[in-house]
Subunit: 401 residues, 2 copies
C-alpha cells in the first residue's frame, strides 16, 4: 500500500508515535496432545490484557496458503506488496551479514567447493570447511580485480560467502554456476537478457581468477555462485508515509530489511531487553519504531513446541516496558507463523493487535490465533497494517472529498 499514489496526499506528519513489535514466527498451530497452540499454551498476562483493550485481527503475509520467508513477511508489514518487491537470495544473504547494498549492486551467494584436476566437482561444499579456514580464502578472493567494478567478498559461515559487485550497468539476470551434481565442472555464467552480457563476462573472469588463487587448496579449490540479486527499488518508507522511521533489531538480517525500507537503524545489544532499552533511549527521536523479537521463530523452526511457548513467556514481561512509553499506536504482529509442529514457516494467518486511544477492546479475551480471528479487524492482508497504524495515530487523513 506504500505505493498507492492515490493516498500519498493523505499522509501527514504529526508528533504521535507508532511502535510496531514484530514477533518473528508469531503464529502457531495446536499441539496434538492438548489442542492448544503455542500462544494458547503460554501464560501471557500482559499480551492478553493488551488484547482486551485492542483492536484484534489476523494478517496474511502474502496470500492465503503462501508461507513467506523473512523478506516478504517483513516487507508486507511495512506496507510493501511482497509479490511486487522481491528481495533475491543473494541480496538477503548480504543483508543477513550486514553487507551494505546500494541500488545497482549485485550480490550472490557463494560457496567454496572442491574440484578434481580435470575440473569436475567432487564436493559441492568443500567438505563444509569451517569459517576459520574459509575466512582467509575470502580475504584472498577479495583481492580479485575486475575492470570498472569494485569486487568484495565477505565470509558468511563455514563454506559460504557473499560476493558483491559494485559498478555501473550491472545486472542480476544471470544463470547460476552450481550444476547441482558432482562429476561435472561448474557451469559458466550465462546472461539471461542482453543487458546482462557485460556482468556475465565479469563474473566468469572472477571465477577464473578465483580458480587460480585457490588452486593449491585441498578443500575449497573452486567457487560456486548462485542467487544473483540486486535490491528492489523500494519507495522510501519515511518519504511516502512522511515518517521518521527507525529500526531496532538484534539480528543483522532484520536490520538489513529495515534498511531496505529506508528506516534508520539504531544500534542495540544482543537481546530483546536491550532492544527495549534502546527504544526508551531513542523514543524522542523518531515517530515510528520497528522492534524485532527473534526467539519465537528460532524455537518454531527447531520444532520445539515447549521452547516456543517459553520464548513467548519470555517476551510477555517486556510488553509493559514498551507500554509505559504510552505510544499512540502499539502493534504486536508477526511476519509469518512458524508452528512448532511444522518446524517451518507457514502460511497461516498471524495474530495481530493494535492498541490506541481509539481502541477500547472488543471482547477478545486473549492474544492467540482463535480469539484474534474474532476481532474487529478481521482477516486482512499484512500490507494494510501500516494504514491502520497511520490512521489510528492521526497520520492518515481522509481520502477523497
Amino acid at each position: 500500500m506504500i505505493d498507492l499514489e492515490q493516498l500519498h496526499d493523505c499522509y501527514v506528519t504529526t508528533t504521535s508515535k507508532i511502535v510496531l513489535l514484530v514477533v518473528d514466527g508469531l503464529g502457531g498451530l495446536a499441539h496434538p496432545d492438548t489442542g492448544r497452540s503455542e500462544l494458547e499454551t503460554a501464560n501471557l498476562p500482559n499480551l492478553d490484557a493488551m488484547a482486551r483493550e485492542s483492536a484484534c485481527g489476523l494478517t496474511t503475509p502474502v496470500l492465503p496458503g503462501v508461507a513467506p520467508g523473512s523478506g516478504p513477511g517483513h516487507l508486507a508489514l511495512f506496507g510493501y506488496d511482497p509479490l511486487k518487491y522481491v528481495i533475491g537470495r543473494g541480496a538477503l544473504e548480504a543483508l543477513g551479514i550486514e553487507v551494505e547494498l546500494q541500488p545497482g549492486d549485485v550480490a550472490a551467494r557463494g560457496n567454496f567447493c572442491t574440484v578434481d584436476p580435470a575440473g569436475n566437482l567432487v564436493d559441492r561444499r568443500a567438505g563444509r570447511i569451517p569459517t576459520e579456514l574459509s575466512a582467509p580464502l575470502c580475504a584472498r578472493l577479495d583481492q580479485i580485480e575486475l575492470p570498472g567494478v569494485q569486487v568484495d567478498v565477505f565470509p558468511v559461515q563455514d563454506y559460504r560467502f557473499v560476493l558483491r559487485l559494485r559498478g555501473a550497468g550491472l545486472s542480476e539476470a544471470l544463470t547460476e554456476t552450481d550444476p547441482q551434481i558432482t562429476g561435472v565442472p561448474a557451469q559458466s555464467v550465462r546472461p539471461l537478457e542482453p543487458d546482462a552480457e557485460k556482468t556475465a563476462g565479469l563474473v566468469n573472469d572472477f571465477v577464473s581468477q578465483a580458480g587460480k588463487l585457490l588452486a593449491e587448496e585441498e578443500r575449497g579449490n573452486m567457487v560456486l555462485l548462485r542467487g544473483w540479486a540486486q535490491l528492489p527499488s523500494l519507495p522510501p518508507m519515511g518519504q511516502v508515509y512522511r515518517l521518521n522511521p527507525a529500526g531496532i533489531a538484534a539480528y543483522p538480517m532484520y536490520r538489513g530489511l529495515a534498511t531496505v525500507a529506508n528506516m534508520k537503524i539504531i544500534p542495540t545489544g544482543r537481546t530483546f531487553s536491550d532492544e527495549v532499552d534502546t527504544l526508551h533511549q531513542e523514543y524522542a527521536n523518531h515517530d515510528f519504531f520497528f522492534i524485532h523479537y527473534k526467539p519465537a521463530d528460532a524455537a518454531g523452526e527447531d520444532g520445539d513446541f515447549d521452547a516456543k511457548v517459553r520464548t513467548l513467556e519470555d517476551l510477555d514481561p517486556l510488553i509493559p516496558r514498551i507500554r509505559e512509553l504510552e505510544p499512540d499506536v502499539f502493534m504486536v504482529a508477526g511476519d509469518h507463523a512458524t508452528p512448532a509442529i511444522m518446524a517451518a514457516h507457514s502460511w497461516h494467518p498471524v495474530p495481530f493487535m493494535l492498541h490506541s486511544k481509539l481502541t477500547r477492546g472488543e471482547g477478545v479475551p486473549a492474544f492467540n490465533e482463535k480469539d484474534c480471528g474474532r476481532g474487529s479487524i478481521g482477516s486482512i492482508p499484512a500490507t494494510n497494517v501500516m494504514l491502520l497504524a497511520l490512521s489510528h495515530s492521526g497520520k492518515l487523513t481522509k481520502y477523497g472529498p
Copy 2:
C-alpha cells in the same frame, strides 16, 4: 467491480427490485462510559428484527485504515473502485449545490478574498461575507466571457462559489491560486502538464477580469480558485448492471453522486420520510433505488453521541415502511463510519445487512458493528455490495461455464 468486464455478460434485467438504503456515517465506536457503540445503544427494534432475517457483514469502503470522504464512500457502494474513480474537490462542491457537470467540464472551488491596493492578500475569506452579499458578486462574475468557453459562476454559501468552465480541450491539471498566507498576491495558475496550458491561460484571464469587476468592493475585491476537477469517466451503472436505477436523496451532494453513477434522480422532499414517500410513489418505475439517510453522519461529525443514537432511533420506525414494499433485495449499508467519539469520518468497517427471500437469518441478534461482524458475509470491500444485491435478486447469473 462495475468495471469488471469478465462479469458484464452475467448481468441480466429482471422485474425484481433492489433497495439500497445508505445510512450516512452509519458505523460508530463504543462510548467510553458504557462500552457500547451508537448502534448498540439505540433502541432499534425494526433494524434488529431485520438483521435476524438477513445476511450480515461488514464493509470496508476503501482499504483497512483509510477513512473516506462522501464521494469514495458512495462510489464504492455503487460498485466503483474508489481508488480508480476519483471525484475532485471542485467537482464534489459543484455536485453539492446541484450544478450539472458534463464530461469535460472543469469545476473549481472559488472564494472571494480581499486584497490591498498593491494586490497583496489581507483577508483570504473576504471577512466571510454572507451569501446575500456574495450572490450578487457571483452574478457579476457570471458575465465574464472567455474565448471558446462557457463560463458559469454559482454561489455556494457565504464567501464561497463554484466556477464551471465548459468547452473543448479543458484540463483539470492546474495549480491553485490561494497562497495560503496573507501579505502576498494570489498566485497565477500554472499548467501541471502541457495539455493544460490553454486552460491555465483562460483561468488567468478570468481572474484578471474578476479583479476589474470587483475592484470597487470593500470586502471581496478579488477571488481565489482551487480544487480544479473534472468528472471521472464512470461506466454508467444502468448500462453495466442492466438496471434502471434511481436515486432519492434530500441532500444535493448525494443526488450529485447518484447522477455521476448515472442514476435517474427522483425529486423528493426535505426529510427521510419524504424520501420513503417518494420511494412508494416511484416504486413501479425502477428496479434499483438508492435512498439516502443523512442525519446519522451529521450528528457523528458534531461529536454528539446521544444525538447520533437519536438519529438511528428516528430512522428505525421508517424501516417497516420500506419493507412493506417487499423489495426482492433490501440492503442497509453505510458509506463509512462516523464515530461520535471521533467527530469525524473513520476507517472502521461498517455494518451491513441484506434481506431477501434467499436469506433467512444466521443467528445475528442485532444490527451493530460486533454482531454484523459475525454474519455470513464477513468483512468485504464495499465495492462487492452491488454484486450481492444483483445475485440475491436474480440479476447476476453464473460466471463461467
